[in-house]
C-alpha cells in the first residue's frame, strides 16, 4: 500500500469514528468506548511485551496507580469540574505510574522470560493489597472522582471521544517507536539480548525506557478509566484478568505488530460483548479456547499468518 492509500484510509476511519455516536445507541457506544480502552491497553503492553519481548503478567498495576493518583489529587487539592479539570490529574496519574515503573525497573528487568512475567504478577498483587489494606490509600472503602462531563453531553459519548483520541495518540507513539532507532534496539533485545548488548546496544537503558513508556501509557488510560467510573475501589481497577487480557489481545492480533492489539481487542470484544453478551458464564471458556486455538493454528497471531485467498499471491510475512 502506498502512502496515499494509507492516509485516505486513516481519514475515512477518523471520520467514521467521529460520526458513529450519532448513528449508534448508547449500549454500542459504550462497547466501542471499552474497545478503545482495551485496544489502548494492548498497544501499551505491546511496547514492552511485543517489541522488547518482556512479557509482563502484571500490567494492571499501572491502571490502578493511574486511577488512584487522579483520585488522590482530587482528595488533596479539591476537585474542580468541567472537562479541563481532568487534565492535571490524568497527567499526574500517567507520570506517577511511570515513576513507579522507573523505581521497580532496575531490579525487575534483570529477570527474564517467565521469571519477569511472574515477578510482575507479584508486583501487581502486592500493590493492590497495599492500596486495599493501608487505610491512607483509601482503596478498601473506595474513592470518588467528580464527573468532568460537560452538561448537555451524554456521558458515554464524552468518554467515547476521549478514549478514541487517546487510542490514536498511543497508536501514533507505537508507530513512531516501531520505526525509530529505539524500536529497532527493542527488537534486537527481543531476538537476542546478549548479542544485542555485545554489539553495543545499551540494552539496560532501552529496556527501562520501554518499560516506563509502557507504564505511562497504561497509567494515562487508567486515570481516564477512573474518571469514567466516578467511584471505584481497589479491585475495580487492579484487575488480574485485565493483565491477561492485554496479552491475549496482542497474541490474537499478532505480537509485535502495530495494529495487532487493536484487531485482537476488537475480535474478543465482538465475541464476548456483542455475539455472546447473554452467556456471561461462558466468557472465560471462549477467551481460553480462542487463545489455545490461536497458538495452535496461527502462532504468530492474525497479522503474522500467511493468508491465502484463491487467485491471490500469499501476503508477505509480518505485513502490517
Amino acid at each position: 500500500m502506498n502512502r496515499f492509500v494509507i492516509l485516505l484510509l486513516t481519514a475515512v476511519a477518523a471520520l467514521l469514528v467521529a460520526m458513529l455516536p450519532i448513528l449508534l445507541g448508547p449500549y454500542y457506544i459504550r462497547v466501542l468506548q471499552t474497545f478503545f480502552f482495551f485496544a489502548g491497553l494492548g498497544v501499551a503492553w505491546n511496547i514492552l511485551g511485543g517489541y522488547a519481548g518482556y512479557w509482563s503478567f502484571g500490567h494492571t498495576v499501572s491502571i490502578g496507580i493511574g486511577a488512584f493518583t487522579a483520585a488522590w489529587l482530587g482528595l488533596i487539592f479539591g476537585a474542580g469540574s468541567g472537562p479541563w479539570s481532568m487534565i492535571l490529574p490524568v497527567i499526574a496519574g500517567a507520570l506517577l505510574s511511570g515513576l513507579f515503573a522507573l523505581v521497580i525497573a532496575y531490579p525487575l528487568l534483570r529477570l527474564r522470560g517467565t521469571y519477569f512475567a511472574i515477578a510482575m504478577l507479584g508486583v501487581s498483587q502486592v500493590v493492590a493489597e497495599l492500596v486495599n489494606n493501608v487505610s491512607i490509600f483509601q482503596g478498601g472503602i473506595g474513592v470518588f472522582l467528580p464527573s468532568p462531563v460537560p452538561s448537555g453531553m451524554p456521558v458515554e459519548r464524552f468518554y467515547y471521544y476521549i478514549f478514541a483520541v487517546v487510542l490514536s495518540l498511543l497508536l501514533l507513539i507505537s508507530w513512531w517507536v516501531k520505526r525509530s532507532r529505539f524500536g529497532y534496539a527493542l527488537l534486537a533485545i527481543r531476538e537476542d539480548e546478549d548479542t544485542a548488548m555485545m554489539l553495543g546496544v545499551p540494552t539496560e537503558r532501552y529496556k527501562m525506557a520501554a518499560f516506563v513508556l509502557s507504564a505511562v501509557m497504561v497509567g494515562l488510560l487508567g486515570a481516564i478509566y477512573g474518571y469514567s467510573l466516578g467511584y471505584f475501589t481497589t479491585y475495580s481497577v487492579f484487575r488480574l484478568d485485565w493483565s491477561l487480557n492485554m496479552i491475549v489481545f496482542c497474541l490474537i492480533g499478532g505480537i509485535g505488530t502495530l495494529m495487532g492489539p487493536v484487531i485482537g481487542a476488537a475480535l474478543i470484544l465482538f465475541l464476548t460483548q456483542v455475539l455472546l453478551g447473554g452467556f456471561l458464564d461462558l466468557h472465560l471458556m471462549i477467551t481460553g479456547a480462542l487463545v489455545v486455538a490461536v497458538i495452535l493454528v496461527m502462532p504468530g497471531g492474525i497479522l503474522r499468518t500467511r493468508w491465502r485467498l484463491p487467485g491471490r499471491m500469499p501476503a508477505r510475512e509480518g505485513a502490517e
Binding site: 512479557w55 531490579p107 525487575l108 534483570r110 529477570l111 522470560g113 517467565t114 521469571y115 512475567a117 511472574i118 515477578a119 504478577l121 507479584g122 508486583v123 498483587q125 502486592v126 493489597e129 497495599l130 486495599n132 489494606n133 488480574l240 491477561l244 496479552i247 497474541l251 458464564d281 461462558l282 472465560l284 471458556m285 477467551t287 481460553g288 479456547a289 480462542l290 487463545v291 489455545v292 497458538i295 495452535l296 502462532p299
Partner: protein, 292 residues
C-alpha cells in the same frame, strides 16, 4: 513464646501441603522446562473428585487419593500427548505458557459449570478432632494431611532415585538429545512426567479438600503457590519442593499471625520477588540446570 511456636507449627503443617501441591509443577518445570499454568486446575479437580467419591460412594478422601491419582494420571498423559505436544512442536516453549493459561481458563469454567461456583469442603469423621501436645494444639486433619504429603514426597524421591523410570526421567531432563540417542523414548517420558505430575496434584487436591475450603476459582492461587514454592526451593526435585513449601507455609502463617491475614499474599509475593533477585535458582538450585 508459645504463640510463636504454635504459629511455627501451623506454618510447617501448611507448608507440607504446599510442598505436595507444588511438586508436580516443579517436576514438569525441571524435566520439560514448561511452566504449566494448568497445575492449579489439576489440584482443584482432584479435590472435586475426592468430594464426589466421598459423597457418592462414602470413600474416605485419603483412600480416594488412589483412584483420583489414577484418573488424573490419565488426564495428564493425554494432555501432554495432545495440546502440550502440539503447542511445543508448532510454536515454542514460551507459547506453551499461554496455551496452558488458556486451558486453565477453559477447565476452570468447565469445573464451575459442572460443580457450581460455591465453596466446598470435605468433612470426614476426623475433621473435628485435634491432638494436644503440651501447650500446643494440632488439628487431626492437618496432621493426617502432613503425614500423607510426606509419604507421597518420599515415594517420589525413591521413584526418581531408584527406579529405571526415574533414571530415564533425569536423563531426559539433563540432555534430551543424548537421552534420545541412547534409545530412550523422550516423548513417552514427557507424557509420563505430565501424568505423574497431574496424579500428585490430584492426590494433593484430595488432601486440600479436607483441610481447606475450595472452589473452581481457587485454582489460580494453587498455581501461583506452586510457582512460589519452586522459586523458593528450587526446580525439579522433591527436596526443593519440600524446602520451598515449608518456607512458604511459615511466611504465610507468620504474616497472618503478626501482620494480619489480609497481607499474606503480599508478603508471599514480596519474598518471591526478593528471592528472584537474590537467588533465582531457589535455595536448593536446579539439579538439571547446568546442562540446559
Amino acid at each position: 513464646m508459645t504463640l510463636f511456636l504454635q504459629t511455627t507449627l501451623n506454618g510447617l503443617m501448611l507448608g507440607g501441603i504446599y510442598a505436595l501441591a507444588a511438586v508436580g509443577f516443579s517436576l514438569i518445570f525441571g524435566v520439560i522446562g514448561i511452566v504449566n499454568l494448568t497445575h492449579g486446575v489439576f489440584v482443584i479437580a482432584g479435590a472435586y473428585l475426592a468430594l464426589l467419591f466421598y459423597t457418592e460412594l462414602g470413600l474416605d478422601p485419603l483412600l480416594s487419593m488412589l483412584p483420583v491419582g489414577a484418573l488424573l494420571f490419565a488426564v495428564g498423559w493425554i494432555y501432554q500427548r495432545t495440546i502440550i505436544d502440539w503447542a511445543i512442536s508448532r510454536a515454542s516453549v514460551e507459547a506453551s505458557l499461554v496455551v496452558t493459561f488458556g486451558m486453565a481458563m477453559i477447565l476452570r469454567n468447565l469445573l464451575q459449570l459442572w460443580f457450581g461456583p460455591d465453596v466446598q469442603t470435605i468433612t470426614p469423621f476426623y475433621s473435628f478432632f485435634s491432638v494436644s501436645v503440651g501447650p500446643f494444639r494440632v488439628d487431626m486433619v492437618r496432621l493426617v494431611a502432613l503425614g500423607s504429603s510426606m509419604v507421597l514426597l518420599l515415594g517420589l524421591t525413591l521413584l526418581l532415585a531408584r527406579t529405571h523410570f526415574g533414571r530415564a526421567m533425569r536423563a531426559v531432563a539433563q540432555q534430551p538429545l543424548a537421552a534420545a540417542l541412547s534409545g530412550l523414548n523422550v516423548k513417552r517420558i514427557h507424557a509420563m512426567t505430565f501424568g505423574v505430575s497431574a496424579a500428585l496434584a490430584g492426590a494433593s487436591g484430595a488432601i486440600i479438600g479436607i483441610v481447606q475450603p475450595f472452589s473452581a476459582a481457587s485454582e489460580v492461587a494453587w498455581t501461583l503457590n506452586a510457582f512460589m514454592v519452586v522459586v523458593l526451593g528450587g526446580v525439579g526435585s522433591p527436596a526443593g519442593a519440600l524446602v520451598g513449601g515449608l518456607l512458604l507455609g511459615l511466611i504465610n502463617s507468620y504474616t497472618a499471625q503478626y501482620f494480619g491475614p489480609a497481607l499474606t499474599q503480599a508478603a508471599m509475593f514480596l519474598v518471591l520477588v526478593l528471592m528472584l533477585l537474590l537467588r533465582p535458582t531457589g535455595l536448593l538450585g536446579n539439579p538439571y540446570g547446568e546442562s540446559r
